[in-house]
C-alpha cells in the first residue's frame, strides 16, 4: 500500500475545500479565545495554494509539499502561517524526490513536519495549541505503521488521536499564542489551530479511503 502523488494533490484539494467549509467555524472558535481570524487566515492560505498547485502537480511529492509550505508562509501571516508553512516545508524535505509514499514514509513525513512546528513555535503538549492535535496523531500513525496496519487503518487511528487531542484542548488553560492572554478565561473553549489540524488530517484519511 502506498500514497501516490495524485493522492497528495487530492489531499491538498480536499483540505482547501474543508477549510473553506469550516471558515466561519474556525473563525468563531478564534473569536472566543483569540482574534477571530483563524478560518480567514487558513482559507486565504489554501486559496493561494490552489492557485499555485496546478504549476507543480507534475513535480515530485517533496517539491509539491515545499511549494505548499512556501505559499502558506508568504500568504497567511499570523501565528498559523509560519507554523503550518513550516509543517509542509519540513514534511516536503522529509520525502524529497519521492513520487509515492510508503506507510513508513508517511510516518516520517508527519514526524518531520511536527518537529518543525515545535521548533518554530516552542509549544509543549497541553499548551492548548495545534500541537495537542499534531502530536498524538503523529504517535498514533507511527505506532500503527510499526504494527503493520493498513494505510486506511493507520490513518483512522491518526485522525481519531487528532480528534481526541483537539477535544482535549477544551478544558486546558492556554499557555501559548493569543489565547494565553486570557488566562482562566481560555478554559472551556476548543483551540482553533488544533481544530484545523484535525480537519487537515481527516482530509488525508478521506483521500486514502476513496482511493481504495
Amino acid at each position: 500500500m502506498s500514497v501516490t502523488r495524485e493522492q497528495i494533490v487530492t489531499w491538498l484539494e480536499k483540505t482547501a475545500v474543508v477549510l473553506d467549509a469550516n471558515k466561519q467555524y474556525l473563525t468563531d472558535l478564534d473569536a472566543a479565545i483569540g482574534d477571530a481570524d483563524h478560518g480567514i487566515n487558513m482559507t486565504r492560505g489554501f486559496t493561494k495554494v490552489m492557485e499555485k498547485l496546478p504549476t507543480v502537480t507534475d513535480k515530485d511529492i517533496g517539491n509539491i509539499l515545499k511549494t505548499v509550505g512556501m505559499t502558506l508562509i508568504s500568504s497567511v501571516g499570523g501565528a498559523s502561517g509560519p507554523l503550518y508553512g513550516t509543517f509542509y516545508m519540513r514534511a516536503g524535505t522529509a520525502v524529497a524526490a519521492k513520487e509515492e509514499l510508503s506507510n513508513e514514509d508517511l510516518a516520517a513525513m508527519l514526524q518531520a513536519g511536527v518537529d518543525g512546528i515545535v521548533q518554530r513555535g516552542r509549544a509543549e503538549l497541553e499548551d492548548k495549541t495545534m500541537i495537542d492535535a499534531w502530536f498524538p496523531a503523529m504517535v498514533a500513525l507511527k505506532t500503527a505503521v510499526d504494527n503493520g496496519d493498513t494505510i486506511t487503518g493507520a490513518l483512522q487511528k491518526t485522525v481519531a488521536a487528532a480528534e481526541q487531542g483537539m477535544k482535549a484542548t477544551i478544558p486546558l488553560k492556554a499557555r501559548k499564542g493569543r489565547a494565553s492572554y486570557l488566562g482562566d478565561r481560555s478554559i472551556g473553549h476548543q483551540d482553533p489551530g488544533a481544530t484545523s489540524t484535525h480537519l487537515i488530517l481527516n482530509a488525508l484519511l478521506e483521500t486514502v479511503q476513496e482511493g481504495n
Binding site: D37, V76, A79, S80, G81, R185
Partner: protein
Amino acid sequence: MKKLINAVDNVVREQLQGMAVAHPDLVKVQIDPHYVVRADAPVKGKVALVSGGGSGHEPMHGGFVGMGMLDGACPGEVFTSPTPDQMYECAKAVDGGAGVLFIVKNYTGDVLNFETAAELAHADGIKVQSILIDDDVAVKDSLYTAGRRGVGTTVLAEKIVGAAAEAGYNLTQCADLCRKVNSYGRSMGMALTSCTVPAAGKPTFSLGDNEVEIGIGIHGEPGQRRMEMKTADEITEMMALEIITDKAYTRTVREWDNDQGVWVDVELVDEPLKAGDQVIAFVNSMGGTPVSELYAIYRKLAEVCQSHGITIARNLIGPYITSLEMQGCSITLLKADEEILRFWDAPVKTPGLRWGV
C-alpha cells in the same frame, strides 16, 4: 456590520492606495507584497527602522513612516501579522547600508514571521537587528503565556528611535535605545465595545450595557477580565495603578545575533517605576473613543501620577494605536531620561505624527 469599505478582501489594499495618493511627499506605497516606505528611501548611511503587524491599528504603523520615525512599515491583513516576504522586500527597499532595525510587537504571529524575515535579510547580506516590544502589564507572567503583548510603547519607541537613527545612531545604538525604551515603558488598555473585523462581519465579542473589558490587547480579543462599568476616574486610577505598581518583569526573549547569524536567548528585566521618575504619558484611543474623553482620562492620570511622585514631562493624547472602531482607551507611561526626551522632542514628519518641521 456597517463600515466605510468596499469588498472586504480589498480593505487593506484600498486604504494603502488612499495613503499613497494622499501623501506622495511623505511615503511610497508598494502593493503586493504590501509595504510603505518613506518617500526618500533608502536614506544612505542611516539605520533604517522597519515595523509592521496586522492592519487595523492605524495610524500605526504606515502612518508613522517618514522623516524622524519609521523607514518602512509592513501591514498584514486586519489583525493578522504580515508575512516574511513583505518584511524582507521592505527591508531591501529601505536599507541604506547602515542596517535595518526590526521593531516587533510581541505576538506569536509577528515574532515568527519577523524571525523568518530576519533570516532572509541576513542571508542577503543586510545587517539586521530585531527588538521586541512587550509592555502590556495586563499580562502578568511570561512563563505561562506568550509573554507581554506589544502595545502603546511601540508608538513611542518608533518616534524616539526614529529620531536617534536620524541623528546618526548606528544599528547597535538604535537597538540598545529601542530595548531601553521598551524596558522603560508600561501600558494597559480597556474596551467599552468590541470591534468588528471586516472579514468576520460581526463583533468579535459582545459586552453588556454595563460591562467593560479590562486588560485588552489591540486585536479586539477579550481582555484579562470583564467588570462592571465604572466612572472614568475609577477606570483611570485602576489602570494607572496597575502600571505604576507593576513589579520588576523578567522574561527570556530571542534576539538576532547578526555577527553569528543565529538567534540567542537573552534574559531581560524591566525595573518598576518609582517616585521621582519623569515620564512621557500617552493616553490612546482604541479608535472609537473621541479625544474629548481622553482629556478627562488625562486629567485623572496626571493626578494619580502626581500623588505617586511621578512627573509627566511630555504627553501624547489621541488615537495612535487603535483596534479599528473599538471604543476604549489605553494608558502608557514611559520613564524618560534625557536621551529619550531629546529624541522625543526632535522633529518628525509623518502622516500620523508631525511636529518641529
